[in-house]
Symmetry: C3
């Protein structure tokens, strides 16, 4: 096992071996969710704090369940209810949580770099659950885990990421990991949201949807954050849907075994039509299931995992 | 054991045998709450999600405790914090929760039929915690459980339900179950809220309080939802209290062993005076205790209960 | 062991022996937080309800973790989400929680005396987590626990409490406990907030900061609640900081082994400069860690602790 990091902060800094270690560990843990008793004792007596300064029910619940299935205790700490309102700084909040013997801080924050900052000042393990437009590493990992499970290998895989690339932390985490793992990436969307600068990350950049999806093995649709989208740079929802929404006709012009992915929640009729989202090429719900396994793996590995014992992930999941 | 259903959605569709199965199972589980260690391993490693799209602290806590006492893990998901705000549909939310390997979805929703809809699209067990003005089956079951414990039998029992019948899911669940179990039902309240149509459900309908309570064995008071009551159809609180509130004088005109029930929270001085609510005929707090036992029984039975093993509820509660 | 009380409501009514019993028990439990598995089975199967009618994330989390580490089940009940909005009285809420077989009610409330009221009407154990401007006993206990750990003894210790004494429940709990334990207390702050009446509690009262801190063994800084401070009685934050804030220069005029304490969260640059708050004399984060041990001790003792068995706290913590 090659994992020796205290934290999981981003995919940009991980090696191929480290990414592979997470994927392999997640495979062992995924089986836990399919058992009658969905629980292993790996983190019994450990305290996990969900520090969500930006709201996210789905990601928070996924981490909460991952911790529960590893038998850890979980505390939810959200900004609305917190003393952050009283002017406490993030650093003070985190140090206080650590002083409560927290072993893990899962942090979502609107500021890029917040998890890295905490990782430097804390002894606790820090896991990035999304920081600004920077990275969302467990989402990136669950995406490539799903691709690998379905396609066998990431090497040479053609992955098209579609939508608002510029402001997407999901896109960034996907790009870093997919490039490392040898996949070919195409980025597509409205030109204002998919600037040519991404070519420097060895991605093909295009606004031509037909070209972007014709040879794709995977189409990863980003969520349109229409409630907080930059009004001046973003077309209307109807325009977006008509130009870039994946419907039955457009699916017909793709490879017959293309995977349709989406981090959820879906805007039905915008990024994707229901027919496609619920169709046989869609692996959107499998992504959710795999996300739980990836988060179990992340908590397990940063805690020391096999590095700290002779136990294999398979044994930990037993 | 006669329980074979995957879900608990309403009392209208249950047979006498099924209702009796829940009541008998609840009796076994009620003893768990009286022990030093209030926990049995029946649902260890199972995941229960409280999906409350309409707020309800009391019912949510009752289900949360029921799940904890069966050793399940519980996740709370409320509409305020949820991605429902982002436009996600109920079906997508529920499917996502199921993809996280949720075994049980407890749902409260303002739309009648929401639990039935989920039960059809999910493999997870669905328990209705109140859907619009339709049903609140665990409330109905805890009400009749309390009546049976106190009166020995429901057969021939005279039960008066008092208040806003028309819009009450509690009333509907009571009516369905009590009729099946052989009780006689009187519905009483302001005429606009207790229409004659309920006579088709084999209930006596009256606006005459004296008549309604004179021969009652049980008086079940509905909560006045004055904060969201239809203004045009409902009298003032003072008027309601003076016409239908149960006070000492009115209690004196009932049978000496009448039971005073209320689903809570009480509006003291409106539906009932404190003297009566806290008096010796009141079983209001016992209803709360019994509710927990009923919810343990519901989770236990939909999960397979004895049908899945040779274990009796008594053994499961041991 | 001298603890026989059902509840922990205030420090005013505790004896020296009772206070000492909590401190000694907390020392045994503090070690639990330093282990790999931070859990003891002392309260397994017990139900703890956090009834927070006034918001407080930090204190709520500290109690929640304390309960988890004793293996109890915890339910959070906050006013925002509660049926208190529906007009339910505190007494009814608490009785309903007790009817759910709650073993412990941890209550924070804006009204002084609310915990005492509940303790009288409930069989459940009640722990005061802060009531109005009255008391915050677990904060007082963690403060003197920290002083005793660092200074060896409280007898003759010179403790200066600085800030808004008049409206501080933390100050009151400190004063009661420190006097009983034989410490000498100086109260200091703006004259409107530190009235001479406190001399009747055997405290030295002064507005002269230099005098107040020159011979202090401990300086306990109260948090300036500027978001809800009485506007007419309180100076501006800048004025408060310039008159009473502890900075490097002022620290230089204290004993070299003075302890700097603060209940948190800190207003950096107001009560204390960062240099001092993060400096070697500060024990602010240790207070947080000790708070968890104190709360474990409180829950353990009110539940019967050694009084109910031959088990020592050391054995319970084993």
């Amino acid at each position: 096992m090659l994992w020796t990091r205290k934290d999981l902060l981003d995919l940009q800094s991980l090696s191929v071996e480290e990414i592979t270690a997470v994927l392999d560990t997640a495979r062992a843990f995924r089986a836990v969710g399919e058992r009658t008793i969905k629980k292993v004792p790996a983190l019994r007596g450990k305290t996990v704090i969900n520090l969500f300064i930006e709201p996210s029910t789905r990601t928070r619940i996924s981490f909460e369940l991952a911790a529960q299935r590893l038998s850890a205790d979980v505390i939810n700490f959200t900004a609305e209810a917190s003393s952050l309102k009283k002017g406490e700084t993030l650093k003070d909040t985190a140090r206080n949580l650590e002083a409560l013997n927290a072993d893990f801080i899962i942090i979502r924050h609107s500021a890029a770099g917040a998890p890295h900052f905490l990782a430097r000042v804390l002894n606790a393990h820090v896991v990035n659950a999304g920081d600004g437009a920077h990275e969302h590493p467990t989402q990136g990992l669950l995406d490539i885990f799903t691709m690998r499970e379905k396609k066998g290998s990431l090497q040479g895989l053609r992955v098209t990421i579609l939508g608002d690339i510029l402001y997407s932390r999901v896109a960034r985490s996907n790009i870093w990991a997919l490039r490392k793992m040898g996949a070919h990436i195409t980025l597509c969307g409205p030109p204002t949201l998919v600037p040519r600068i991404f070519e420097q990350m060895e991605c093909r950049v295009t606004s031509d949807l037909e070209e972007a999806i014709a040879d794709a093995d995977v189409i990863n649709l980003l969520r349109i954050q229409h409630e907080r989208q930059r009004k001046t740079m973003f077309p209307s929802l109807a325009e977006y849907s008509s130009l870039f929404g994946i419907n039955r006709a457009r699916l017909a012009a793709t490879k017959p075994d293309v995977l349709i992915m989406h981090p959820g929640p879906i805007n039905r009729g915008v990024e994707v039509d229901s027919e496609v989202a619920d169709g046989e090429r869609s692996v959107i719900l499998e992504q959710v299931t795999n996300g739980l396994a990836i988060r179990m793996a992340a908590l397990y590995l940063v805690n020391g995992g096999q590095a700290a014992s002779t136990e294999t992930p398979e044994q930990a999941a037993a």
